[in-house]
């Protein structure tokens, strides 16, 4: 004989009611709990996502700045200091003309130089542009980078050297010549996915590795 606490199999016809499924209250409670958990999870995911986006935006901008500076550096390295224009020292310029070496011509017995090239800041489009044969009919141009800031980071257009680097109101991309070296400074700025400004600043000092060789007496044996 079963005790009153034992469950009676369904359909046994002894009149006792079986326990299965959830009650409405249990279901409502579960749903509410799951909803709260989902809301919390969503909130956390949004926060992490926002943070990741911010970091990614800064990282991508850093990457772009490095890439642009690498291109500028390699171009200036291969140029001849004597071909830089403008070439006055200690002033800052937003464009730089130069020529790179193509190698040696055995017939001419001289170094061969490429067509004139230029790296310039186009402020309206906020981009760095490389040009070959600038301002000529055969001009070629390639955009090397975008999001160039109007002014260097930390600088305001007020006639004062705000960032204490010896320059006044310098632009987001500028060149400063010192002897055989060129200092290139670049500031990129853009808004992230939430509209917050992200800015990176980089600079690089590059030395021109080509120069006009002196007249030579020729190779071989001793000479005066």
């Amino acid at each position: 004989m079963r005790s009153s606490n034992e469950e009676t199999p369904a359909g046994t016809g002894d009149g006792t009611r079986g326990r299965c499924g959830f009650t409405i209250i249990e279901l409502m409670f579960s749903a509410a709990l799951v909803t709260v958990i989902l809301i919390q999870v969503t909130y956390v995911m949004n926060a992490v996502s926002r943070s990741a986006q911010d970091d990614t935006a800064a990282g991508v901008l850093e990457d772009q700045a490095e890439e642009v500076l690498d291109r500028i550096a390699y171009a200036i390295m291969g140029s001849d200091r004597g071909t830089l224009n403008p070439d006055e020292e200690d002033l800052h310029y937003t464009s730089l003309d130069y020529k790179v070496s193509l190698g040696w011509d055995e017939a001419l017995e001289d170094v061969v130089w490429d067509d004139p090239q230029q790296i310039a800041l186009e402020q309206v489009e906020s981009q760095v542009v490389w040009k070959e044969n600038p301002d000529e009919e055969a001009e070629r141009r390639v955009v090397w980078g975008k999001y160039v800031a109007t002014l260097m980071e930390g600088e305001d257009f007020n006639g004062i050297d705000d960032n204490a680097n010896g320059l006044i109101d310098e632009e987001g991309l500028h060149f400063v010549i010192d002897g055989d070296s060129v200092t290139v400074r670049l500031t990129l700025r853009r808004a992230d996915a939430h509209g917050n400004p992200v800015s990176v600043k980089h600079d690089r000092v590059v030395t021109c590795r080509n120069f006009t060789p002196p007249d030579a007496a020729g190779a071989g044996a001793m000479s005066l």
């Binding site: 799951v34 999870v41 995911m45 990741a52 040696w104 080509n210 030579a216 005066l224």
Partner: protein
């Protein structure tokens, strides 16, 4: 539901991880490219250094590169003719690749590196004094006062060297280098502070190449007002300064004259403040006793006297009469005298600061000669170092750009079996005369890879594949190459 949440979170985490990894990969790629670039530059520097030491410039190869840091490099050499070479350095570091090219020309060696040199034998008379100094670091007087010029003298010849101390003394504060198979003969009181070993090969003195300049009538200046020869190129049938008169030559200038003469009490002044002066003399230089020669600069590289006959020189150089050179003036002469056909007689009052190279050198008793080492190191108008003509970035070989794999795997080499850059230069046939650790002269003739440089204290002379090693080494400046 929980499982679904876990799955969603896992997917999101995976996405963020992939994004982060992608960014890191790009940044590492940029770093590897920079590493490869600077490794390629290191390869060019290594090859350039090798060229200055009469090596070929080739370092390693694609099959056997040199290992440096976390990457490898090799340098190939292309001879473009007329002493022009192109060095192409390829480097791999991580996933980065770079190829750089350097074009340079091997410059000729300066004759001034010979010091005080006589093609035929030379005799130093009693009270003769030969030493050296380096004008690029200071004045002669300062270096003597501090003793920093000790051992810098250089007296050489293709023949025998005789040091006759007589009853007084002869002092050579530096090296004495007689010709091949010759020796230094010492009589009387003689002090030689350096080596006296013979050179390995004869020095060939090139003939003088005279400039073509229109010639003006001979000048014999006797006026009390100084005659100033302005900067520029000038030709004379003769130049002579009379008693109590003065001729001032203003640089930069190139002069060609048949004779350069100074009477007693006549004065010759060479003003190189505006630039260097080169004087070519074709028949005779005669500076009488009690005349004077003044040089405005103490840099010997700014004044050169080149003496050579217009007919191409005396035997064995030609068939003409060799010019004569007699330097008896009172002078602290800062300059370089080159007279490959002539006997140069230097009087006791003509003190030379610089270098003198002649067919026959006659040094009077009490003569004082001071070799300026700065001329040997390029302080003059010439340098023995290769001259850089062009530098550029070139295309990387396609076989290397196809993959960003580890360099050692890509090239199929074992890192531990690779050589360091200094040991990876192309092997050459080495012929060398040197002093070993016991200062005993030794010779070696064979492949350089089989030679042990650790047993060398000083290189006296040597060639690599028949090419002379640089004067920098012959002057005793380097021992291990």
């Amino acid at each position: 539901m929980a499982l679904a949440c876990v799955v969603v979170v896992s997917v999101l985490a995976g996405s963020f991880l992939q994004l982060s990894t992608s960014l890191t990969r790009r940044q590492r790629g940029a770093t590897d490219r920079k590493d490869a670039f600077y490794l390629a530059e290191a390869g060019l520097a290594e090859a350039y250094t090798g060229l200055t030491l009469a090596r070929t410039g080739a370092v390693g190869s694609m099959e056997d590169p040199a290992v440096f840091g976390n990457g490898v490099f090799w340098v190939e050499v292309d001879d473009l003719g007329d002493g022009v070479k192109e060095l192409e350095s390829t480097a791999l570091a991580g996933g980065g690749r770079a190829t750089l090219s350097l074009i340079l020309r091997r410059e000729s060696s300066s004759l001034a590196t010979l010091g005080i040199f006589s093609n035929q034998g030379v005799t130093v008379q009693p009270d003769g004094f030969v030493d050296g100094y380096d004008s690029s670091v200071g004045s002669y007087a300062d270096q003597v006062a501090t003793g920093t010029n000790a051992g810098m003298g250089l007296l050489g010849s293709n023949g025998e060297v005789t040091l006759d101390g007589g009853a007084t003394s002869v002092t050579i504060d530096g090296d004495v280098v007689p010709g091949p198979g010759q020796s230094v003969t010492i009589t009387g009181a003689v002090t030689v502070t350096g080596a006296t070993d013979a050179r390995g090969e004869l020095v060939v003195l090139p003939p003088v190449e005279l400039p073509s300049l229109p010639s003006s009538p001979a000048v014999y200046h006797t006026d009390s007002v100084a005659l100033v020869i302005p900067a520029g190129e000038h030709g004379f049938d003769g130049l002579r300064v009379g008693p109590s008169a003065e001729i001032i030559v203003t640089g930069p200038a190139t002069l060609r004259t048949s004779t350069l003469l100074a009477d007693a009490r006549g004065r010759l002044t060479f003003d190189t403040s505006g630039g260097p002066i080169v004087v070519y003399v074709t028949e005779e230089v005669n500076l009488a006793s009690r005349s004077s020669v003044t040089t405005s600069s103490t840099n010997p590289g700014e004044l050169s006297w080149i003496v050579g006959s217009a007919s191409g020189g005396a035997a064995p150089l030609g068939g003409g009469t060799p010019p004569t050179v007699a330097l008896n003036a009172s002078s602290a002469f800062h300059g370089f005298v080159y007279a490959p056909e002539s006997t140069v007689a230097i009087g006791p009052s003509f003190e030379v600061f610089g270098a003198v190279v002649a067919d026959q050198l006659t040094l009077a008793a009490q003569g004082r000669l001071h070799f300026d080492r700065a001329l040997a190191a390029g302080g003059g108008t010439n340098s023995a170092m290769p001259v850089l003509l062009a530098w550029r970035i070139v295309d990387i070989p396609p076989a290397l750009t196809a993959s960003s794999a580890d360099p050692f795997k890509l090239l199929g080499v074992n890192r531990s079996a690779l050589r360091m850059p200094a040991d990876a230069h192309a092997d050459q046939w080495l012929s060398i005369l040197y002093l070993d650790l016991l200062s005993v002269a030794q010779t070696y003739d064979g492949w350089e890879s089989a030679f042990d440089w650790s047993g060398v204290t000083q290189v006296l002379s040597g060639t690599r594949d028949g090419a002379d090693m640089t004067e920098f080494q012959q002057a005793g400046g380097m021992s291990v190459l």
